[in-house]
């Protein structure tokens, strides 16, 4: 659509409006989108990408090795309120060994509870494992 074919970074917007439109339309309550609104959303997304990248680089540890890493981004999502809406899709990563230790601990905590809650307990543990695993 309005993705410009001239070279260089002087183009007004680089992200393809057609793709932005597909994403916007996937939102259930949206009926129609005016052309200006489509352009603004695309442009805003570019500004967002730049802001997220620059902020994460500035506040992260990746720059010690002249890099922008996933960890920098996930750190931003957790620490900065403006980016908190990204927390679910940029989860912190943990080592498998730590995860196993967490499971162990959960199991031990479960044994401290009363006997008649045992059935519930097992169901909870199963659920917890599924949540952490997904």
């Amino acid at each position: 659509m309005a993705a410009r074919l001239s070279g260089g970074e002087n183009r007004l917007v680089s992200l393809p409006l057609s793709r932005i439109r597909v994403i916007m339309k996937s939102s259930p309550e949206v009926s129609s989108i005016n052309q200006d609104a489509l352009f603004l959303t695309a442009k805003a997304t570019e500004l967002f990408v730049q802001y997220l990248a620059a902020y994460s680089y500035k506040h992260g540890k990746g720059k010690e090795k002249n890099a922008l890493t996933y960890s920098d981004l996930s750190h931003t999502a957790e620490e900065c309120e403006t980016f908190q809406f990204l927390a679910d899709i940029l989860p912190k990563k943990i080592l498998a060994s730590k995860y196993l230790k967490m499971l162990e601990k959960e199991k031990q905590d479960g044994n401290v509870r009363e006997d008649d809650e045992e059935d519930e307990e097992e169901a909870d543990e199963h659920e917890a494992v599924e949540d952490v695993g997904s």
Binding site: M1, A2, R4, L5, S6, E9, N10, R11, L12, V13, S14, L15, P16, R19, I20, V22, I23, M24, S26, S27, E29, V30, S31, S32, I33, N34, Q35, D36, A37, F39, L40, T41, K43, A44, T45, E46, L47, F48, V49, Q50, Y51, L52, A53, A54, Y57, K63, N66, A67, L68, T69, Y70, D72, L73, S74, E81, T82, F85, L86, I89, L90
Partner: protein
């Protein structure tokens, strides 16, 4: 959501270029980081759309407009985007208008009856186009 997941993704090459523009030269961007930012961008679009749609509904409108998107940015705590967005929008609107008139001119050449009228309008068009060319080094591509 949509049936094909790849449709909700933005093109990698473009995302990478935008990221590079924001970082100092030579900074390495891990593939994971790039992929994460791409996903974040898609989520941003959804969030912005949903937020803008709320403003449209408040105004009892079914069509999202520019004002709704700008209001959404404020609501989402991205006020810093509002001024640059407004400036870009002005340029975009001028370009769209220019294209529309360029198309009109093409039609007029084929229609001899309109020739007198078009000569008047062309003078205005030329003035506008000169302003645009000064500000905008890009070539215009007809869609």
């Amino acid at each position: 959501m949509a049936e094909r997941p790849e449709d909700l993704n933005l093109p990698n090459a473009v995302i990478t270029r935008i990221i590079k523009e924001a970082l100092p030269d030579g900074v390495n961007i891990s593939k994971e980081a790039r992929s994460a930012i791409s996903r974040a961008a898609s989520v941003f679009v959804l969030y912005a759309t949903s937020c803008a749609n709320n403003f449209a509904m408040k105004g009892k409108r079914k069509t999202l407009n520019a004002g709704d998107v700008l209001s959404a940015m404020e609501e989402m705590e991205f006020q810093r985007f509002v001024t640059p967005l407004k400036e870009s929008l002005e340029v975009y609107r001028r370009e769209q208008k220019g294209k529309k008139e360029a198309r009109k001119d093409k039609d007029k050449k084929a229609d001899s009856e309109e020739q007198d009228k078009s000569r008047e309008e062309e003078n205005d068009d030329d003035d506008e186009r000169m302003d645009e060319e000064e500000q905008n080094d890009e070539e215009e591509v007809d869609n």
